[in-house]
């Protein structure tokens, strides 16, 4: 009777490599891509904002004040003289000598100190807990000391706070839409690939049909079909569904292909011969081989969703005001004369580019890390 070989703790790096689980290996390889790691941190920060938008905002994003329209970006200075003390040029009102109206603008001679963790407008943390605390602010936000980190728009609304709230909507839509797509794609692709037969033919035709549709016009038509009186939440949900309805096809095709190929593999045959149930074979044997690839592909699909939602909302047919998304914010920049007057209205576009860039870099890093055959 042979004794069980003693378990040896992995000592050398080579040993550790050979006993590491697949996820560990992926993480180790991902870590080496410095750019991807940095982008992942950026994304984490953005999603942190998604969770606590009001905390990061300085003003109520809906608060309008026509007098405060088009206030430019208040440049943040870190040092007050020699001391470390962040401040911005104050917003002050001046009476126009000709029209006798109060005009508000940036007064470079006066300083408004910027404080951290101040009391500001009330909100509900995570929608439940009432709170007043904000990350940034001034000593007297309702009074004479105002902070407009990214300026205001034509209705005097603080762009920084609106951007923060817009980030929440846009980043969430992308994530949820891709999740729906993945679920649909894996399910339908899996059925099609694993069971074959009639189901396969039907699903294949469906995929071909959907892929032959011109995406943007169809999206436009579908979003135009949404009733005007739906609540922002309903619109949000509908947009997510619409975006994922066409997006699942590519993943579905890939999953189908994988299942078709895997069905013939020897290790699947071995599992069947060992008596494993069909569900067990699919879940424990087949899916793990391409799970990391799916994750990488999904991460790379999110940017397309974000850009689509932004474009649709920009045209007025996606997320509608008073809901805020990056596209809604950019709608303010549609008019070139307005943009020439207030170029800071284009800043949400930079955030779009940044987030898409981050997603692409992370997705590329994940894809390279998950591919067992790449270097």
């Amino acid at each position: 009777m042979t004794a069980r070989p003693p378990v040896v703790a992995p000592e050398t790096a080579e040993d550790r490599l050979s006993v590491a689980s697949n996820w560990r290996l992926v993480w180790w390889r991902f870590r080496k891509h410095h750019l991807a790691l940095l982008s992942a941190l950026v994304l984490l920060a953005l999603y942190g904002v998604v969770l606590f938008p009001d905390f990061v905002s300085t003003q109520d994003p809906e608060a309008t004040d026509a007098r405060l329209a088009f206030i430019p970006v208040q440049r943040l200075h870190l040092f007050d003289g020699a001391r470390l003390g962040p401040w911005v040029p104050a917003v002050a009102g001046k009476r126009n000598p000709t029209t006798l109206r109060m005009e508000w603008g940036v007064d470079g001679s006066r300083k408004t100190p910027v404080r951290f963790f101040v009391t500001g407008y009330p909100y509900r943390l995570l929608g439940i807990v009432p709170a007043h605390l904000h990350l940034l602010g001034t000593a007297a936000p309702d009074g004479r000391e105002r902070l407009y980190l990214l300026g205001t728009d034509r209705l005097g609304r603080d762009q920084w706070s609106r951007l923060v709230h817009g980030t929440r909507t846009s980043m969430t839509i992308g994530l949820i839409a891709v999740t729906f797509s993945v679920v649909l794609g894996v399910m339908l692709g899996g059925i099609s690939g694993y069971f074959g037969g009639v189901a396969d033919v039907v699903i294949q035709r469906l995929i071909e049909l959907l892929q032959s549709l011109p995406t943007i016009p169809i999206w436009l038509a579908l979003t135009a079909a949404l009733p005007r009186d739906w609540s922002p939440q309903q619109v949000f949900f509908a947009i997510t569904v619409i975006l994922s309805l066409v997006g699942w096809t590519t993943l579905g095709r890939e999953v189908r292909g994988r299942f078709l190929a895997l069905r013939e593999e020897d290790f699947v045959l071995a599992a069947e011969l060992a008596g494993a149930s069909r569900r067990r074979i699919i879940v424990r044997h087949m899916v793990p081989t391409f799970l990391s690839h799916i994750i990488a592909t999904s991460t790379l699909a999110i940017p397309a969703m974000i850009i689509s939602e932004t474009s649709l909302s920009f045209l007025g047919l996606g997320i509608r005001p008073p809901a805020i998304s990056w596209g809604v914010l950019l709608q303010e920049a549609q008019n070139i004369q307005t943009v020439a007057l207030a170029p800071w209205l284009l800043i949400p576009g930079l955030v779009v580019i940044l987030s898409v860039l981050a997603f692409n870099l992370v997705g590329d890093g994940l894809r390279d890390a998950a591919d067992p055959y790449s270097q």
Binding site: S212, L213, T215, A221, A225, V339
Partner: protein
């Protein structure tokens, strides 16, 4: 291969039929119809219309018929080449669409040409000199290009031109030529204006194509047949272009299948921003106003262009790669 092409062509009417039903359903989906929006617009501008007039208009446009009757009427008209009447403009749709369709296709083709003319040399250079300074620069540009939504690029360029040069870069023609009949001079004018929207439209695609070509070519350059060719004594440039580049380009040809349709439909957003005479903005208005025959016709045209793009790419791929061509046999 002819059998393959014929099979695809035979499927075309079936697909279009299915699409027409889908399209019609989507266009009719919003509650109310053209007249509801029309009345609302009238009301907001201060005028009104009596109930009898509304009913009369409804009967005249056939909006009181059940949906399937409206659909059949639409299909009958389509099959005889009649695209219907625009309810808003009160003109035949064919007239409204006409020139805009040509310009849409021209814009898309220009963007397509620019994409490939830029991406191929850039991709080949990057793969042959990986990690060089120019390669890094191109990679950065590529990443940013893919991440920038094209309407954003359009906005920035338009703003830049306006704020710093006082230029207005909208439209596809100078004011003199907008309504003028076609002539050689008009074509030249078009060429002078179309390149900027084409660049904006094609930026993302160019960036993506360069990256993919670079990756594919890097893979191919390591393959044994490259060593053989080099061992034969071929000069490096000729070697790269004739062998690995050719093979690296093959999978890219299949991307034409969805890239060309994407250019057709993507021009919608750029056209709206830059105020181009494109069928896109026309569709937008038609959808908002529920001008259903116009919207339906344009959507169907988009569908047709999409299928055409896919077909072209499949034919090209079969022609370029003997492995596909001869296997079908």
């Amino acid at each position: 291969m002819t059998r393959y092409v014929l099979k695809r062509l035979a499927l075309l009417p079936v697909l279009l039929f299915l699409f027409s039903v889908t399209v019609f359903a989507i266009v009719q989906a919003p509650p109310g119809d053209f007249l509801t929006t029309y009345v609302a617009t009238l009301a907001s501008s201060g005028s009104s219309i009596s109930a009898e007039q509304i009913e009369a208009l409804r009967r005249e446009y056939g909006l009181d018929q059940p949906i399937w009757v409206q659909y059949i009427r639409w299909m009958q008209n389509l099959l005889t080449g009649n695209l219907g009447l625009s309810l808003e403009y009160q003109r035949p749709n064919a007239e409204l669409i006409g020139e805009r369709l040509v310009l849409t296709v021209v814009l898309a083709l220009f963007a397509f040409a620019i994409t490939w003319i830029v991406a191929i040399p850039a991709g080949i250079y990057s793969a042959m000199h990986p990690r060089s300074a120019l390669d890094y620069l191109l990679t950065i540009l590529n990443y940013i290009g893919v991440a920038t939504p094209n309407f954003m690029l359009a906005l920035v360029l338009m703003w830049g031109a306006f704020a710093y040069f006082g230029l207005s870069v909208t439209g596809l023609f100078s004011p003199d030529y907008v309504e003028a009949p076609w002539s050689a001079a008009r074509v030249v004018d078009l060429l002078k204006h179309v390149w900027l929207p084409a660049v904006v439209l094609g930026v993302a695609g160019t960036a993506r194509l360069t990256r993919v070509l670079r990756a594919n070519l890097l893979d191919e350059l390591n393959k044994p047949y490259v060593t053989t060719a080099r061992a034969k004594g071929l000069p490096e440039w000729r070697l790269v272009l004739r062998y690995p580049a050719r093979l690296a380009l093959n999978p890219l040809v299949s991307t034409i299948g969805w890239y060309l349709p994407l250019l057709f439909s993507g021009s919608l957003i750029v056209a709206t921003v830059m105020n181009l005479p494109n069928i896109g903005p026309l569709l937008l208005r038609a959808l908002i106003n529920q001008d259903m025959y116009l919207a339906g016709s344009i959507l169907l045209i988009y569908c047709f262009l999409t299928i055409l793009g896919t077909l072209i790419s499949d034919i090209l791929l079969a022609w370029l790669d003997p492995r596909i061509r001869l296997d079908e046999g």
